[in-house]
């Protein structure tokens, strides 16, 4: 079942962050939401995550309004937000430990550690890891929950260009394997087009959706595609909206 955003408005005091936003996110798609800073894209993500509630309108998952956060919609934030007192392995198992069912499936934890290329670092603490690795731990911590929806709020925004590039490639491969729905927020046009199945571009003050379109590129993405006419066409459209 899709996520349905229905005519959502969100006010913070007198400031209107989002107005009349409607969006349907089909199961298993990779949706990128592109916008300048302050356009309300993170606000939209937090609403889907259930970290806040809409002022008006509603957001449905399986036809049920989203009221609070849940482990079926895990968020990866811009900063890794790891717990410095826990080892890498315990950080990844954190969500499983919070489940009130008995026992942690350590096999699953180690499987995800393998997928994320973190083997050999299980006992390390966050401050002993590089920024890119910390962010991989944050993604692993989300993946281990088997979420139906992975919400990513500029997860690579704080990384240097090279690490960022590697992580993008990695994320695409990963998505091919796990088949979860991914909602990915970014202000980087290339990143948005390169990663997304569908592209949503937002306009600011108040935040609204300007366009929502499919990305007509083959699923197996390659960086040569940044020269593809379809890519350039979308990029030109996005640039016009963002006013660059």
């Amino acid at each position: 079942m899709p996520i349905v955003v229905e005519r959502v408005r969100k006010d913070f005091g007198r400031h209107r962050a989002l107005d009349d936003v409607s969006l349907t996110i089909e199961d298993g798609t990779f949706v990128t939401i592109l916008g300048a800073s302050g356009c309300g894209k993170s606000t939209l993500l937090n609403l889907i995550a259930g970290l806040s509630t809409p002022t008006k309108g509603r957001i449905l998952l399986d036809d049920v309004p989203i009221m609070k956060p849940g482990p079926d919609r895990v968020v990866v934030f811009q900063q890794p937000g790891l717990y410095p007192w826990l080892s890498l392995r315990d950080n990844i198992a954190f969500g499983l430990r919070m489940r009130r069912t008995a026992g942690i499936d350590w096999g699953r934890v180690d499987e995800v550690i393998g997928i994320m290329g973190l083997k050999g670092f299980e006992g390390h603490h966050p401050y002993e890891l590089s920024g890119g690795m910390q962010q991989r731990v944050a993604i692993a911590r989300a993946l281990v929950m088997n979420p139906r929806v992975l919400l990513m709020d500029e997860p690579f925004g704080a990384l240097d260009a090279q690490t960022r590039h590697r992580m993008q490639k990695f994320l695409l491969e990963l998505w091919g394997k796990i088949g979860a729905t991914i909602v990915f927020i970014t202000h980087d046009i290339d990143e948005a087009i390169m990663l997304g199945d569908r592209l949503v571009v937002m306009r600011a003050r108040p935040g609204r959706i300007a366009i929502e379109t499919g990305v007509p590129l083959p699923r197996a993405r390659h960086w040569d595609m940044t020269l593809d006419p379809a890519f350039l066409y979308l990029k030109r459209q996005a640039m016009a909206i963002l006013g660059e």
Binding site: L51, G70, P71, F77, Q79, G81, W85, H125, E128, R141
Partner: protein, 305 residues
């Protein structure tokens, strides 16, 4: 120019005590002291340069020079020996205190007595203060009930309570322990509250989206996040406790280091007074170091975000 690592550490601590909101930025400094606990008198060096050798050497030199200067001044009889006994005289007084004692009990007795008072008073302040701080930070009603007392009690110098405590409880152990408790507990409570409030919101959001309940977030996220500030409060608190104790013993006691200093002073036994002061200083420093060692065990991630 030599900067003592201790000093640098204290400054870092002062900055660290304020809430840090952008928490998980990777530390540029490679971690050295995660597991290993360095010599209690030294902070592990952060570079290849063996600064700790330099600093240890400097410290020793300064202390030796000061003692020599002291000896020279007393030998020159600038001041009468009764006012400024020489280091040798102080050392002899120290030996005599250890072996024969003064005023009825030995130096060891006085040290044990004072230390026990601190252990009970300060221990009680931590055992009561941390839970009270946690409750206040978590529950608005509890906060509103306790905060006025805290705000009123905080600016009152603990020494002002001594006459009242003496009238109420005499000069036994109870008033001293109570004075330490009353003087220290606001520090612990306020440190605990500020530790809870300084929990980065991101850590809480992460736990929420991973499905943690309110209680779980408190136990698994907020409590560990508050620990570094609780330890800072304890380090400040032990100093306050020590001040309270010595003051209480100066005024109303028949045993303890404060009493020793006071009693010897009245008899113009300045050498003994100096021994007492030095012992008080060393013990206070040792107590702070003990907390620091425990802190490194319990909060090894401190300073690493």
């Amino acid at each position: 120019m030599t900067v003592s690592p201790e000093h640098v550490c204290d400054q870092a601590l002062a900055i660290d005590a304020s809430p840090a909101l952008g928490p998980d930025v990777p530390d540029q400094i490679p971690s050295i002291e995660a597991d290993e606990i360095p010599d209690a008198f030294e902070i592990a060096p952060r570079s290849g340069v063996p600064w700790h050798h330099v600093s240890r050497f400097t410290t020793a030199t300064v202390v030796i020079c000061a003692v020599i200067l002291w000896q020279v001044i007393s030998d020159l009889h600038v001041f009468p020996p009764i006012a400024l006994p020489s280091p040798v005289a102080v050392w002899l007084a120290f030996i005599k205190l250890l072996t024969k004692g003064y005023g009825g009990h030995s130096l060891v007795d006085d040290i044990v007595t004072s230390s026990l008072r601190i252990a009970i008073g300060f221990g009680g302040a931590v055992l009561a203060g941390v839970p009270i701080g946690l409750l206040m930070a978590r529950n608005d009603l509890v906060f509103r009930v306790i905060d006025p007392f805290l705000q009123f009690g905080r600016p009152v110098p603990p020494l002002a309570y001594i006459p009242l405590l003496v009238v109420w409880f005499g000069i036994g152990e109870l008033p001293k322990v109570l004075l330490i408790l009353v003087g220290t507990i606001p520090v612990i409570i306020i440190g605990t509250i500020s530790g809870v409030k300084a929990t980065p919101i991101l850590r809480v959001s992460v736990a929420q989206t991973l499905g943690a309940s309110e209680a779980q977030i408190f136990r698994h996220v907020i409590l560990p996040s508050a620990l570094p500030e609780i330890f800072t409060a304890m380090r400040v608190g032990i100093g306050v406790a020590w001040t309270c104790l010595v003051a209480a013993e100066l005024i109303a006691a028949d045993q303890g280091l404060g009493w020793l200093v006071q009693y010897a002073g009245q008899a113009l036994q300045v050498a003994i007074v100096i021994v007492g002061i030095i012992v008080i200083g060393i013990l206070g420093y040792a107590m702070e170091l003990t907390i620091r060692v425990i802190e490194r065990r319990v909060v090894p991630w401190r300073g690493h975000g």
